[in-house]
Symmetry: C2
Subunit: 372 residues, 2 copies
């Protein structure tokens, strides 16, 4: 029972078939001159066009990278480089580590993070105040948050950045394939593995007006050495499949998550976080008082249930979640559910039936006070 | 008839099966805590160990990257960063563009290239003279040349760099899987797509004594955002398969290339380049006087024969080859054959039978003088 579909999930049969077709027909280096290469190049170009179409972007302004993380790095570094003479970066406090690290690095530490409210929405007034500084090179605000599911109000965010003539980089790595693609951005980053596609590929889209400069002296500025053609093909097919089912799957998973939110709110010492309405349909996180997050995940794993830690993507150690701290929530003992389209009602009922008992056991073992 | 197996070739059935097993069992993010992730992590670790074993390196010092190109960039930048206070880089004149560009970039243009002889061997005396400068941070000398096939004498090269206490980075992206892995290096880069594995993955190995510092503030310094687990698994399986057959395939393809070299030498106005003995078994390049390289490739492609341009890897335009210019050879009108293990004698005979006629036709069309 896999309930950790946030950033990775099993590939669908159509995506697997596309990958295999890509391995058979797209193995050649697409930059060479003969027929085998031409075939690989056609598959790559076709994949890029299909992805561009889904993002309402121009194919020639969609770039494939080796990972979404590298995409975030390269777009931040390159847009910053193109805004010569400006030295500061503004980002929301709930961006991914990849975004904040890259922003901090390329600006030499001149990164301002804008606070969010209890549901995780960026403070538009505070954002506007930061953007008033003419030294701001770019702003980074995500679409959907990967931990708490909250969708940013990008129309207002983009109105603020546009008014200041500052390019807005939107991290849509957690949202595309789950809700309609955002319309308001100057640069966009997406993650195929999050929509049922393969690992090892990322997507960056730029608007025609967005200037970008390479920071390394490479032939292919976005994916030095090229990207995997089969991965590109499978990414495009998986996205198309998701978009065909977007409304139906979103409504079904959204209802399951509503159900989980309602039930979990009744559990003692449990705090359900994120905007209850303006959110990714398939994600919910809650924090559990007096419970060790790793012990909880291990106990669920023993029951055959895989959930996320709700903490940052890189959970080699279970650090307290920066996102949860930003919204003023309990940042330990948290669990994130991410539902892929194959998850059914019975799976959720089983999880809901188990949780209160596991929470009780763990609190007993830890000698925690009785929460009723 | 695919005779351009240099950097990419069709994957073998065993590698394809491994890839598919990886898609089925290794789709989860290997950094998380549940069983699905643990399984992906085991596949990744097992793949790394198998590759390390083949390179006679320690698994913890083998790093997977998103491409060999990125591997070259990161190892050059990181070893340079670790050699604080030293500012120059020394490289052979026949290194890949990726190597020379990264070296030029990180050293701020303080890159010295060491000449090679007519067969492409680096001039050991000139290398020694460059290494005498205490400001040299690192040296980069490849194992096998991707264009002309010449194998460098790494025992002598490494003796010179060791005497100067300068770390030697060896680009083995064209050699591993074709000849025994080199033994003399401080850092090594390899390319799975060149040994029958997939695109979208590169390998870097460091010796325990080689110091390296990350140049980006990332969680995973070598592959930000992670690598594709199925690609890692297929890379390891393909390498194992190649190494089992190394001597037999090397002898068979080596004899086919000897035959091509002997025949091509007799064609008027054709210059066969590279060391005839100390070479990659499966590669040969020759230059053809009064012939346009692109026209030659196109004509062969129309006959169903795919060959390489012999020029740099990035042949979006057919620029004159820097490698061929370095050895004093004609740097236009060149053809590179790269034989994968599936190529047979009949394929080669067909190519050999066609070539003189095509060369004659192209020279006639161009109004070139009669070469007899």
């Amino acid at each position: 029972m896999f309930l950790d579909a946030s950033g990775s999930s099993p590939m669908t049969n159509r995506a697997l078939e596309a990958f295999q077709a890509g391995l058979a027909d797209g193995w050649a280096d697409p930059t060479r001159l003969h027929s085998e290469s031409r075939r690989a190049r056609q598959l790559l170009d076709g994949s890029r066009e299909a992805i561009a179409d889904a993002l309402d972007a121009r194919p020639e302004q969609v770039h494939l990278t080796a990972s979404p993380h590298l995409g975030l790095e390269r777009v931040i570094a390159g847009v910053f480089a193109a805004r010569r003479g400006r030295g500061r970066i503004v980002a929301s406090a709930v961006e991914r580590d990849a975004t904040l690290h890259a922003a901090d690095y390329v600006s030499g530490g001149r990164l301002a993070t804008v606070p969010v409210d209890r549901d995780g929405h960026v403070d538009i007034e505070a954002l506007g105040a930061e953007l008033a500084d003419p030294d701001v090179a770019l702003a980074a605000v995500q679409h959907g948050n990967h931990e708490i599911g909250t969708l940013q109000r990008l129309d207002r965010v983009h109105a603020a950045t546009s008014a200041a003539a500052v390019p807005l980089i939107v991290d849509a790595t957690a949202s595309i394939g789950h809700v309609p693609a955002p319309e308001r951005w100057d640069a966009l980053v997406a993650n195929p593995a999050d929509w049922g596609g393969p690992q090892g590929i990322g997507v960056v889209a730029l608007r025609p007006s967005t200037r970008w400069l390479p920071v390394w002296p490479e032939g292919d500025d976005w994916a030095p050495g090229g990207v995997s053609v089969p991965a590109a093909l499978a990414a495009a097919v998986a996205l198309q499949e998701r978009l065909e089912q977007l409304d139906a799957v979103g409504a079904r998973l959204g209802a399951l998550i509503d159900h989980v939110r309602a039930r979990a709110t009744d559990w003692p010492g449990v705090d359900v976080v994120g905007d209850p309405a303006e959110r990714l349909p398939h994600v919910v996180t809650f924090s559990c008082l007096y419970v060790d997050g790793e012990a909880l995940l291990t106990r669920l794993d023993r029951e055959g249930i895989a959930v996320g830690s709700g903490s940052a993507c890189t959970t080699s150690t279970l650090e307290p979640s920066r996102v949860l701290a930003s919204i003023g929530a309990l940042s330990h003992g948290n669990v994130r559910l991410g539902l892929h389209p194959g998850v059914g009602e019975a799976d959720i009922e089983r999880f809901l039936a188990l949780m209160p008992r596991i929470l009780g056991d763990l609190r007993d073992e830890a000698g925690a006070p009785d929460l009723g």
